[in-house]
Amino acid sequence: MDFSLSDEQRMLDETVTRLVADRCNPEQRRTLIQERSTALSSLWHTFAELGLLAMPFREEAGGLGGDGIDLMLIMQALGRGLVPEAYLDGLLIPGMLLAELADDSQCEQWLAPLLEGEHQLALAWHETASRYDIDTPATRAERSGEGWHLQGRKQVVLNAPRAIALLVTAGLNDGSLGLFLVPADGDSLQRRNYTTFDDQQASDIDFDTELPASALLANGDRLLVALGETLAHGRAALCAEAVGAMEVACEQTLEYLKERQQFGAPLSRQQALQHRMVDMHLHLEQARSMAILAATSLTLPEEQRDYRIAAAKAYVGEAAQFVAEQAIQLHGGMGMTEECHVAHYAKRLILLDQALGDRDYHLETVMAHLDSAA
């Protein structure tokens, strides 16, 4: 058993942490959000130059072959800075799917520039009726001449406004699930773009689209295996991001309690608040353990991997909410304001539970496998 980081990992951690501290302080973060357009930010380009975009991908796919811990270190740092860049939804998730499923020419066209920081992508999977399940979309793809006709509606497609192409899940006539690569600029896409409460960009998109035969990246078991692996990485990444954001929420709350004077003394002298602060800290440390468990489970056999990832995601979602709500509460009225940085951490911490399956969803997985898991 060994919880220490390798030298390379320590360097990676220091690099990302410093980068985030230098380039994404609260004011810079606001600017990044305000100036967001289809053009990618200079911060994103710096990520590319430092190899951060290639880090989590296999070497055969043009990546640097980083493991779960590398991914964890990156996501934790991004969480600490609340970095408004779609590392997860614009890069990791669509990139992993391409790396697993796309042919050479598709990789050259879509994956290589993705890892170079030249464009971003998005996975369009969510539909209200299927909630958090990815494998039961109502969106359909029918054979149409040589190619396909794709029809349906995807909602809350994270990072879609910035994506140059979308990976779209759809049911096929043989009952299997298919994944299609759809350029995002087509006239046949009707979309509504918006931001989310936690400052992400997203779209609702109606598809009624003719696609060439090659648009189908994969279907059936091959696709499900790749999706399982990708979502596992995504969920582990979210756990790590949450830990980074919880660290800062705890730090800022502690600092505030020490500073804020009421009744002639700092609030930090109130024992009721000391205990609450301790509870926040305990939630953070337990969540950190779960994020580590998730990061080190990515290479396990599928069933074991998914069990642990589900446990981690459910646990972290709940812990993140506790920390977020208490951070607001202990800041009093200040915690309720846009101006207060901790409120933004709180928003992200609350809403990341609702990404890739919330705590109820993942608890169901844990409950379903409770007996078989030793």
């Binding site: 299927s130 009744f263 607001i328 509460q329 309720m336 304001t337």
Partner: protein, 398 residues
Amino acid sequence: MNLQFTPEENTFREKVRAFLADKLPDDIQRKVRLGQQLSAEEHVRWQNCLSERGWLAPGWPVEHGGTGWSPVEKHIFEEECAAAHAPTVVPFGVNMVAPVIIRFGSDEQKHHYLPRILNNDDWWCQGYSEPGAGSDLASLKTRAKRDGDHYIVNGQKTWTTLGQHANMIFCLVRTDPEAKKQAGISFLLIDMDTPGISVRPIITLDGAHEVNEVFLDDVRVPVANRIGEEGEGWTCAKFLLTHERTGIAGLGHAKQALRHLKDAARRQTHRGRPLIETPSFREQIARVELELMALEVTNLRVLAAARDGGAPGAESSLLKIRGSELRQRLSDLTRRTLGPQALPFFADFLAGDEDSLDDDQTFTAAATAQYFNRRKLSIYGGANEIQKNIIAKTILGM
């Protein structure tokens, strides 16, 4: 013991229902139902409906324009208003400053201000909190210096709810900096149009403009605008805090929120079935239902005691804590019911503008904003930690 409403109380409920069905404007009802913010005009339009019926001020003595309702009737009224999606009456005039004026004001002050409040001529806001004085309200620093027939007021108030619409503010100010904390405070009514007052918006984390900072810079206020004696402001403030707390549990709102939660959980599907049929989720809804049932009976116990002449004291702290926690839990479950659908931030829609959202989106758009907004319930009106301190001290004697 009997927990049933009397036949008279049930008749009263029918009467309130009929009034709401008849008079609550559709456009306002829709906005409240969808969780959109109301404009000042919409608040006033609704409050004028209540004024016309004589129902704006149930808490006042009849001779000043109150309804003469029992605490239970007031409770029924609040419950029916919430169920019908009527706007909450802006409390600062009717429910906050008016009782203080009635209790401590001069006849002249009563004659001047009370009819204007009943008629919705004035929009009041509450100037208690300051940047340095929140839970420790008595440490407030806004200074009022006597200058002949005027006070000259300097300082800053903050978290002033809906101050952007207000033409009047009631303030706690320090008239005697030498006296010990509570003793040097006076209660002043200030016209917001007086030179030297400026209002700056504070945007809350749900994107709303609900609170403000109010700056007072050499503001001249007639001494005649003081309520009660100089140095008696703390007595007024405390009176206000313990008065009229029957609604503090927010039960009507909680019941409405529970109905909405169930509705949302029926519409949402999980694995092809309504989410409300998923046992683990259903259990979570059942648990808030239990909490609501318990709180309703606790609330009725407090109301019955009030009806029989007991002044609600520290019990109101209990209602505040449990009521705010319950409403926060409800808004949490509603947000989670919607899954990823809870993420979009449709700012224009929430601000009350007409929008091109589809039916599903209008139904879901406010859930997350409300979840974040409801965090305030455990912070304002005496934060829950402070309420617990009160219970520890006054009920438990710790």
